[in-house]
Amino acid sequence: MNRGVLLLLWGWIVIWSVYSGRLDLLLRGVFHSLVGASGVALILAGIVVFHRSIGRRERTPFTWLAGAVVALLVLAIPPNPSFSDLASTRPEGLPEPPDLAFVLPPEQRTLTEWVRLLRAQPDPDLVEGNPVNISGFVLKRQDEPPQIARLTVRCCLADATPAGLPVAWPDDANPKTNDWLSIQGRMAVETRQGVRTAVVVPETITSIPRPERPLEP
């Protein structure tokens, strides 16, 4: 296969990944423009090399062809990670506590901001009764009741770390692993395994599709 065509193929895959929104599932936002720029550079290099190689015959090493097959697979099979499965192999992270979580009104805090706040200020009584308006996926860990969770990412999915909140599920709720839910309710304090813990008491639970940008920094 022509070397220029291979470069164009890789460039196309990179640019496609940016414009199709796939990167939102894979990488932290700050890297998106860098990835896009590399796609443009590959397309330009591909055009130059293609132009120079017209009429010339060149051997294509097996490794390049294998790379091209992987490139086509990347294009054909979009990423569809199981967030719950990913989270189950990782310990809960300790996202740095920014001051923002204390400043925002409770109903505007995201799930990750709630987790940060509760880690930085572990006294659950301080948040009792606060309104909660969050969304996340259902995370089931072994021997634990299901939580509502998000993945925080500093670089790419490889370093995704789960941040979960305990929920006092109503009797009729049947949370299924990996389902995305939007929950409105209030914070309450419960004693779980002998520890006073802040838990979300839902007033409404709505099933939602996976958000376009499911990863949080």
Partner: protein
């Protein structure tokens, strides 16, 4: 097989690949530009050949290339192919992924309150690079360098630099035309794009392989196992060294990743994670095959691991 887990591994693979690819391209671009702008041999000849000064110079060159380890491999290869002293190229290869402005800034951003780490990381990387460089240069070039790179390097070296046994071709006894071998030649921009594109595709195939291995190991090896031993002085260092090898994220962002478990592990283990990843990881294993022989890669991995373990132990004795 659990399809959920397979889908997760596939997504991690894509994440690793797309995050590393720009850095690899940046490295190939810089290596190509260096070849175009600076005639071969003009500045390479001025690099020190002293076994101690050479790796120090190479390590300090990292400031000129703010890229992670994926970007450094093509530049180090270009240095070696152009006939640079081995010590300089190895010093650059092993220290530059840490000793560059972006990585130092990201470490500072992640750990502003741990000043010892801001000094210990670059110093440790520097020490490790000098150690590895001194060790590897004990081997002959034939034992050390990958075959294609060795041939390329010999084309840019005067014949007088090679022993008789090293000369695989040519007539022994013919007058040495050392000038012809080192005369700087201007390469056309088109020629640079041509060669760089070959280099990029070669390295990309190896990067893909490394990312596949890293994604598979990462998906099936629960990280909680590694962090469960976080507070034991020696075990925590070993566990975090394994984690650094498995996770394979670029050095420009690994400090933010380390932040996620900094509170759960010993200080020596934290430093070990930040030192070993840029030198040895699964993603790099493939890339190194364009530079070094399997024997040299094995020596690098073993010596780097032992060096990092010792540095980590020393830090734990001092900090705990």
């Amino acid at each position: 097989m659990n399809t959920d887990r397979l889908a997760t591994a596939w997504a991690i693979f894509q994440g690793l690949l797309l995050e590393s690819l720009p850095f690899l391209l940046l490295g190939v671009l810089i290596a190509g530009l260096a070849r175009w702008l600076v005639p071969q041999g003009a500045w390479i000849d001025r690099l020190p050949k002293n076994p101690v000064l050479a790796p120090i110079t190479g390590a300090l060159m990292g400031f000129a290339l703010p890229a992670c380890e994926c970007g450094n491999v093509p530049v180090a290869r270009r240095l070696l192919a152009s006939g640079a002293p081995l010590g300089t190229a190895f010093g650059f290869l092993f220290a530059a992924p840490v000793l560059n402005p972006i990585v130092l800034a990201s470490t500072w951003a992640a750990f502003p309150d741990q000043r010892w780490l801001l000094l210990a990381r670059p110093f440790g990387a520097f020490l490790l690079a000098v150690l590895l460089s001194l060790l590897l240069t004990q081997l002959s070039e034939t034992q050390l360098l990958e075959r294609a790179l060795l041939s390329e390097r010999r084309m840019s070296q005067p014949l007088s630099n090679l022993g008789l046994l090293d000369r695989s071709s040519g007539l022994i006894g013919t007058p040495l035309d050392s000038k012809a071998a080192t005369t700087p030649q201007r390469v056309s921009l088109g020629g640079v794009v041509d060669q760089s594109s070959r280099e990029f595709l070669d390295l990309l195939a190896l990067l893909v392989l490394g990312c596949v291995i890293a994604a598979l190991v990462q998906t099936w090896l629960p990280r909680s196992w590694l962090l469960a031993v976080g507070s034991a002085p020696t075990l925590s260092i070993l566990a975090l060294m394994v984690l650094a090898i498995v996770v394979s994220v670029c050095s420009s962002v690994d400090a933010f990743l380390a932040l996620g478990f900094a509170a759960q592990v010993t200080p020596g283990a934290l430093l070990a994670f930040l030192l070993l990843g840029p030198v040895v990881d699964l993603k790099l294993a493939g890339l190194f095959t364009v530079l070094l022989t399997p024997k040299a890669i094995a020596i690098t991995a073993t010596a780097a691991s032992l060096g990092v373990l010792l540095i980590g132990q020393w830090v734990n004795l001092w900090q705990l």
